[in-house]
Symmetry: C2
Subunit: 332 residues, 2 copies
């Protein structure tokens, strides 16, 4: 076996199919959904919200899965671990991720809950509000972590959302430990401010205990992590952590904090904000691509910004054009 890693990045996350609909703000209010956040729902709530949604487009999603597709579009070798059921949605998920050039071989469940579904309501300001029925994701467990695969990977990327399904946390820890045994780095996205609220102490423990080397967060997730509404206070706390962190700030670009040292990187220019779904996922894709190729942090952040800019200019969470081409044209 060669010593050269076979994969730049392996992502582990919830395998989800999205139903996305442009939606008025009044619908969010009526459904009592927190704008911009992800809410976990059961199957009957999913049916109830779908019935209130407008015409919807169905496409594969899942935060870490979107990130792996972004990496493949940039030209990286990426793999994904996540759980679907062997139903129509699950088969579509498998088709889409494989055809995106991402290795995916987690066995589907034959029985039990359906493939996970995320209802994505996109308001006229481009903000997305998500309601997720986890379905078959609850069956992701440590047995699904292929340590052979992890051993051949430069970076293992984990989504904070994995703390929600009951056995995925153990899968997450197993993957992180296997990564460190083989010298790979472990990256974590904090996923969502409410998700941080649910698992704050555990996420801080992962960072402070050295289980996680690289952290992705947006401003509201960082605020939730350190329980402050003040960005300066949150950054001061972040600077104390022994980690590399990318804090995305929408149009204000990204703050990169590397073991106490902070640098800024600008956002990429866009023509029109259509739908922020996948913005954080694609930022992570670009940044991880840069890191896996040895780019300095700020250049990695610039690639992240480029990938995020592509995905927010159309509906849907995965790129619609070759990010490798965009990168080549960008001069980054």
């Amino acid at each position: 076996m060669s010593n050269k890693p076979s994969y730049d990045v392996v992502g582990i996350g919830n395998a989800i199919v999205d139903a996305l609909a442009p939606t008025g703000d009044d619908v969010l209010a009526r459904l009592q959904l927190n704008k911009g956040s992800m809410t976990l729902i059961d199957e009957s709530s999913s049916a109830r919200i779908y019935a209130e949604m407008g015409p919807a487009t169905i496409s594969s999603g899942g935060s870490a899965a979107n990130t792996m597709v972004g990496l493949a579009s940039l030209g990286a070798k990426a793999a994904f671990i996540g759980k679907v059921k062997d139903d129509d949605s699950g088969r579509a998920f498998c088709h889409d991720i494989e055809k995106s050039g991402v290795a995916f071989s987690t066995p589907a469940t034959a029985t039990g809950p359906a493939t996970a579904r995320c209802l994505v309501l996109v308001t006229p300001d481009g903000e997305r509000t998500m309601s997720t029925y986890l379905g078959a994701c609850v069956h992701l467990g440590p047995d699904d972590i292929d340590e052979e695969l992890i051993a051949r990977t430069r970076i293992v990327y984990l989504e904070g959302y994995l703390w929600d399904p009951p056995q995925a946390k153990a899968a997450f820890r197993k993957a992180a430990e296997a990564a460190h045994r083989s010298g790979a780095r472990v990256a974590l996205t904090l996923s969502d401010a409410f998700c941080v609220d649910r698992y704050r102490d555990e996420f801080l423990g992962l960072i402070r205990g050295g289980a996680v080397d690289i952290v992705f967060a947006n401003e509201s997730e960082l605020h939730a992590l350190y329980q402050t509404a003040d960005f300066g206070t949150a950054v001061a706390e972040l600077k104390k952590e022994k980690a590399l962190a990318f804090v995305t700030r929408s149009a204000n670009g990204c703050l990169v904090v590397d073991h106490g040292e902070a640098e800024s990187a600008p956002a990429s220019a866009i023509d029109r904000l259509v739908d922020t779904t996948g913005a954080g996922d694609l930022f992570a894709a670009g940044a991880l691509f840069g890191l896996s190729r040895g780019a300095p942090n700020v250049r990695a952040a610039a690639i992240g910004a480029l990938a995020a800019a592509e995905v927010i200019q159309h509906f849907g969470a995965r790129p619609q054009t070759s990010l490798a081409d965009l990168l080549a044209q960008s001069g980054i």
Copy 2:
């Protein structure tokens, strides 16, 4: 009962769910598909082509259904008649068309073939190439034509594709006759050049026999209808017909021929051609909207061009923004 029609337009067509994927020209060549056309396929061919397709987005489609959704988006009262199965795709189709504001009450089949699926391959030049498995559409028949509904409608719109499923032709004729009994006009889209090749004599018979008052065609369909490669020759033939015809010419706008008199209308300006899927359907929506409101032919064509311009600037065959708002802003 009021004498005022309840619907501006009722559309009758194949009820189809689209799977759309950006695709290289090499894939079309390998699959031996005719670029820009619609090919009928069986279920096993559908599975084979899907396996060759890239990551796909699933959304409701169907030519006349897309047109009715466009009409509703413009503010018209529209209804649709078409056949789905009561399966996941069929339920999604019902959800989407109803949530688009289109009345739809054709009963779904409980058994038999699945809801129709159209595989749409979009090449980098924005052209779409379609492969359609008709599925449950083969069960659309005269019993599905609600003559009460037709009697309350200004315009009945029929797609040429209805000649493909075996019983739909009879439904088509029943609807056209009911329309004329109540003083409504009947519009027909020629749908596709290969479809015209299959049913040329019947389509000419419908126009010349007076069953159809308004014809929509693009250049290649018009060429197929009159078996010529020369636009001037085709238009000279068209001028002999006792009908109103809209001939769409992509970026060259539209030629309107009304009982021998020809006028031109320009295309709407666009920023970037992304995907022509739905261009003809949405042109028809705008033109029918204009006609239903008594607009002169050229103004109706301008509204058609506006609606088509919206749909070709993103992936997918249905509008992603309010066409009524676009029209109000356009000054047309």
